[in-house]
Structure formats: C-alpha cells, structure tokens
Assembly symmetry: C2
Homo-oligomer: 421 residues x 2
C-alpha cells in the first residue's frame, strides 16, 4: 500500500498517521471518532504545508497582477513541470541508457503539441498584435495559415524518427513509452490549454474557477481537520463527509461573493485581444453590470439595506461553485486511485508538503475544462456579435470581396422587404 510518512496526503484532505502496511479504509473506520485536531504530530506537517501554500498563493497573486502574458507563462511552466513528472513516472533508466536520444523525442512531441495548441488558441491575439507592421503581418498570417501543416509535419517527423529508432527487444518498452507520452500530452494539453483560452477571455474566467478549487481544498482540509469523522470514499480513505460538506458550503458562498468582488475590476473582466501587457479598458459585458433587487417588506426595520445589487455573473458563479465542490473532487479521487494503482505516493516532490505539481493540479484541470465549456456555452453566445463577424470580414476578405458582400447583403434586405409586403 501507499507509504505515508508525512501523515498528510497531497490530495488536500487529512489522513491519520499510520504504519504503512495498515489497510487504509479499515484504519479510518476503526479510528473514526479520533479527531485529528487532538493529534499533536499533525501540526508540524500542517505548518510546512501552510507555509508552501502561503508562498504559492502570494506568487499566484503577483502573477495575476502582472497580467495575461505572465499568467500564460506560468501555465506553461506548470505544464513543463507536470509533463516532466509524468514522463518520469514510467521511465526506466536502464532501458533509456540503451536508447540514446529517446527522451528527446518526448520533448519534440511536447514542443509540437505546444505550437499546435497555443497557435490555435492565440492566433487571433497574435494577428491583432502585429497588424501595425505590414511585413510582420504578412509573415504571421502566412504562418498561421499553414500552422496545421507545419505542426503536422513536425509530428510526422517525430513519428518517423520513432519508427526508425525502434530497437529489437525494446519494442514493448518503446511502444509503451510512445503511448504514455501521447496520453500525457493529450491529457495535459487538452486540460490545461483551456486555461489559456479562459485567461484571454478575461482573467475572471481563469481566476474564479482556480480560486474556487483552492478554497474548496483548503476548506475541506480545515473542516476535515477539525470535524472529520465519517469516511467519504474508499479510494481516498482520509477524505471525510464533514470535510466534503463543509467545503461545499464554503465554496458556494465564496463563489457568490468572489464573483461580485472580481467582477468590479476591468483588469479581470475585459478580454485581452492581443499579446500585449498594457492596461485594459472595455465596456463591461452585461453580466458584470449589477442588477438591483429590492428586499421584501418583512426584513427587520433596523436592517440597513432596502435593496441588494447582484451581478448576473454571480448566478453563473454558483454553477461554477457547485461543480468545483461536487464534481471536481473526483479529479482528486482519480489521481489518488491512479497513484494507488501504480504504487507511487506523489507524482513528484516539487512543492514541500504538497508533493508534485501534478498532485496540486488534479482538480484544477477538471475545473479548467468545465469553466471553458461553461463559458463557451452559456456566456459567449450572449456576446456573439456584430463585432466578431465584422472582424472576420475585415480580416479575411479582400477589398473587392468586402464590397461584394456588402452589395449581396443589401440585396437580401431588399428581397426580404418585398417578401414581407
């Protein structure tokens, strides 16, 4: 079973100190009534964990303050660390020594995936950044036009490289590594690159979901620490119903409040349409404009407010909160199960008291995908607009085509009027 010397798992909930051979779920049942708050040994590791947490949150806040490009850079750094941790998980040093250059291939695929994913997500921003310089503009739009082909040939180059370096008796290891590399890159990139799409839609859509996961984790830890008695799921024996429910309530309340606070800053709500780092101004989208609800008459007379102002985005935040507290923890369970299946304690040891970066990212990744899909499905359509299509017309059509479109559109209006008569 898992070795656990620190007494605290990386998955944000609490575990009892125990001998490494004890079967976890039995142990927690037996000690169900033993509150961790009374266990003095816990405090030291809690301190280490709290210390790293403060540093992480501080660094995170600084990056948010610095803006979109820096947040993107942070995401890339996290991706590199995660991929590195996961690559190493199934790596066999003995086998690798017989396959010179085989590791390099992984990073070739990593680089290709990066070029592909960020090229697609940020192509619009990139184009907008270079519009003032005609030569650069031509170059960039050419590169973007052929981006898929370029990435495809980079990939094919790696694919052929792989096949040509297949070595007898190593086939199984090599194919296993190939599959594993693709699996990792697929999981890491599909999950984390959504984050980058969110960032440029407005930091809000990245910051709120990420904060909710952190809040949910910390709240579950604290509630579990002080009140945890009833085990939640066999897979993660240290997670308790008390932690789960306490965290859910905390997260929902935080979501509602935080959305209101974050929604006031244009720095967080405006989309960034190019790759610059300057100050942002925009006409805030309607979901960030407060609506006023008058309170019913039965509110006590000494109550100072007669009406409350709520931004529509706060209702959306509740959905995000619900997901962050109910579904996202399954990302953690999945990671626990995975670590258990492959008999590793943590994915790495980059963060003292927390384990690897990957250990901290399990729920974040699930959340990032949801936030992106939620934003695309329920927020964007309201903004789907004249602006977007106008943009397309001016960007993709030649002057003559623009004129042709204008004329056709005019004709359609005329036909329509006749149809109505």
């Amino acid at each position: 079973m898992l070795k656990d010397n620190s007494g605290i798992t990386s998955s944000g909930r609490i575990r009892h100190r125990r001998k490494s051979n004890e079967i976890p779920s039995e142990a927690s049942k037996a000690n169900g009534n033993h509150l961790l708050v009374n266990d003095q040994n816990k405090y030291r590791s809690m301190l280490i964990r709290a210390h790293s947490s403060v540093w992480m949150i501080g660094g995170f806040a600084l990056v948010i303050y610095m803006g979109h490009m820096y947040i993107w850079a942070m995401v890339v750094v996290i991706q590199i660390f995660m991929v590195k941790e996961l690559f190493n998980l199934l790596r066999k040093a003995h086998e690798d020594r017989r396959l010179p250059g085989f590791r390099l291939l992984n990073w070739h695929f990593f680089f290709t995936a990066m070029l592909f994913v960020y090229g697609r997500i940020l192509r619009q921003q990139l184009v907008n950044t270079v519009t003032s310089d005609k030569v650069l503009y031509k170059l960039v739009s050419g590169l973007i036009k052929y981006q898929m082909v370029i990435c495809y040939f980079l990939y094919i180059a790696g694919f052929i490289w792989f096949i040509l370096t297949l070595k007898k008796k190593m086939y199984k290891y090599q194919f296993g590594q190939y599959a594993w590399t693709h699996m990792i890159l697929f999981v890491v990139f599909t999950q984390t690159s959504f984050t980058v799409a969110n960032i440029f839609e407005g930091i809000f859509w990245f910051l709120l979901p990420a904060s909710l996961i952190v809040i949910n984790d910390i709240a579950a830890y604290i509630f579990g620490f002080f009140f945890g008695r009833t085990p939640l799921i066999k897979l993660s024996p240290k997670k308790t119903w008390e932690g789960f429910i306490g965290a859910s309530v905390t997260t929902m309340v935080s979501a509602f409040v935080l959305a209101n606070i974050m929604g006031r800053f244009q720095w967080l709500t405006c989309p960034r349409k190019d790759l610059s780092t300057g100050w942002l101004h925009c006409d805030p989208s309607s979901i960030f404009k407060p609506e006023y609800y008058s309170l019913p008459g039965w509110f006590p007379e000494w109550f100072p407010w007669k009406e409350v102002s709520i931004m529509p985005v706060q209702w959306h935040a509740l959905c995000l909160g619900l997901f962050a507290s109910i579904i996202a923890p399954f990302g953690g369970f999945f990671a626990s199960g995975f670590k258990r299946a492959f008999k590793v304690k943590d994915f790495g040891d980059s963060i003292p008291g927390h384990g690897g970066i990957t250990d901290r990212m399990d729920c974040q990744m699930v959340m990032a995908v949801f936030a992106y899909i939620y934003h695309q499905s329920f927020i964007v359509p309201q903004n789907y607009s004249v602006e977007m299509i106008l943009d397309q017309i001016l960007r993709n059509l030649s002057f003559e085509e623009q004129r042709a479109l204008y004329i056709k559109l005019g004709q359609i209006f005329i036909e329509r009027q006749f149809g109505e008569l």
Copy 2:
C-alpha cells in the same frame, strides 16, 4: 516472435514462409535472392487475399455510388469494428468477469466521442437539413449550441462511474483499461473522423486518398511479389525496396490520372451541405476546371495532340500521391512494430486473408489526416469566400444585428475612401 502460418502478413507486402522461431530479418537476408514468384505455396493464400480484395473494392464502389450518407455509415461501421478489435487486444476475460458492467463503460465513452466528433463536423449540414421546419430548427440549433456541454456531462458521467466502480486489487487493470480505452478512442476518432469531414467537402477528397493507399498497397504487393529482393526495413522484413519503389511510381502516375477522371464527376467534386442523399449540382471549383497547355514544337508530327488539358487539382493529387507512397507506409511500419511488441499476428480476423479491419486501416488513417490537413491548408483558402461569411451573418445574427453590420460596413468603406484621398 510472430507466428505466421499463412505466409502473408496483413500489411500488404510479402513474407517468406518460415518456421515461427526464425528471426525475420536474418531470414529475409539469407533468402534475399529467392523470388516469391517461384514459390508455389504462395498462390493459394494470394488467391484468398485477392478474392476478399475484389469483394471489398466492389462493396466500396457501391457505397461511393450511393453517396455521402452511406459512406459516412460505412466509416462508422469500420470505426466500430476497429474499436472492438482494439478493445479486445488488452482485455482479460478473467479480470472482466469480476467487474460487471466494466465493458459497457468503454462503449459509453465510444458513444460520447461519436456524438462529440460528428456533432462538430456535421453541425452545419444538420442545420441546413432542418431549416425548412421551424420547430425542428429551434430544437436542433439548441442541441448544437449546448452540444459541448451535453458531451462533457456524458463524459463526466462515465468518469464518475469509473471512479465509483474501482475495485480493490483491480486498480491497475482498471486504470490500464481506462488509459487504453482513451488512447484507442483518441487515435481512432482523430484519425477517422477527418475522413468524414473530407467526404462532405466532396467525395473526391475522400476517394482519391483512399484509392491511392489501396493502389500503393496492391502495387507494392505485386512488385514485391515479382521482383522483391532487397529488404527495406527491419521492422517489416517482408517489405522490399523493389516493392516500395515500384509502388511509388505506380501511385504517382495513378494519382495524376485518377484526379483527372474523378474531377469530371460533380457527384465527386461538389461539397454536400446538408444530410440528404439526393443528386448534387454545383458550379465546379476552379481547381476542377481544365487548363490547356500547348505542347512544345519538338513533339513528333504524327503525335495527334497539340495541347493537353490538365486540371489544377492534378498537381495537388501529385502531392497526395507522394505522401501516400512515401510517408503513409510508415503507418504500416508502426502497426507492424506494434503487433510485434505485443506479440499478436493481426488485430483481428474480420477479413479472410487480410486480418482485422485495423490491419487494413493503418495507412488509411495516416493518409486521411494528411488529406484533411492538406485540403484545409491549400484548397479551402482559395474558396474562403463571401458565401461563407454571408451564411454566418444570416444564420447567427438577428435582423437588427444584420442591419447594424450593414451600416457599419458601409461606414468603414466611406472612411477608407477618405483615408485614400
């Protein structure tokens, strides 16, 4: 090593009959001068193979004749067979018996992937099909708008189902299966669904690449059979340089000729913009309009033609031919290596003499992706047009928004004129 009783691999090139323990590359080196055409034992299995091939090609031609929807159905059937073969590859009956319903989960993910992929590729066609019925139109556009959310929740349901049915001591098997399922669905769907996108862009873009692979395979088989002496690659010891080169030349010539023939049929060149099966008419795209080149004066006088007509698409066909004969075979090498690594002879036994469906699809999948990317990068931009954007405007904007766009566009033209003065 591989067991090989039929004497012919599924990978379309020829192998010598040999004891199963013989090391393949040594064997082929030793027998390098032994032409297969002289080996009487080969003829029986060649006959079986030829027989299935004729049936397959006949069935294929019928489906092409019937049209887009039937070709799509054929692709789906192939996908189901492939996924089934691949699922079974790592399946352990003993373990499965202890995990009731675990197999069902795979198909749940398969269904979800299908809904996601085809929903995205064919959304435009689906909308165009139902535009005449207002109620249906509203329903369909609602479904499409929330398609991502629907698929996401189907996926999350499977994910939670997986976690909740994790069984002690089975973790490793279950996680392995989970990873394998995702890997298969990812490979099969990314590779084959491009095919469907190609089909609706015009059957030409599906039929030509697929034919080139078949021609390349058959030509390599025949050239290898009659002239094969020099081994090509250790991984597939039965492939020879003679087969490879003969096939390349055949494929290039066929590509150039076939493109001209196929380019004459509107049934093959017109895109299909809805989900109907009726006859197709369209103004053929400029790449299908023949251009005339007069032959230089030194052509012999008795030569009957003074000029040749070449469609621009024929030059593109040469690129496809080049890829089909040089790069696509690596798909076959990859599959050979994979089968070798996991010690299976074929992926299945669906087609007599050929092995499983997957064995026939290895190069086809590599080709389909290339054809799609090639079409998107080098063909579509020429057609990127006023029509497309007009379509978008009429579909996505309300009447008022359409008017607003019209007015803004008019203003921009006026400003531009002032800028020029």
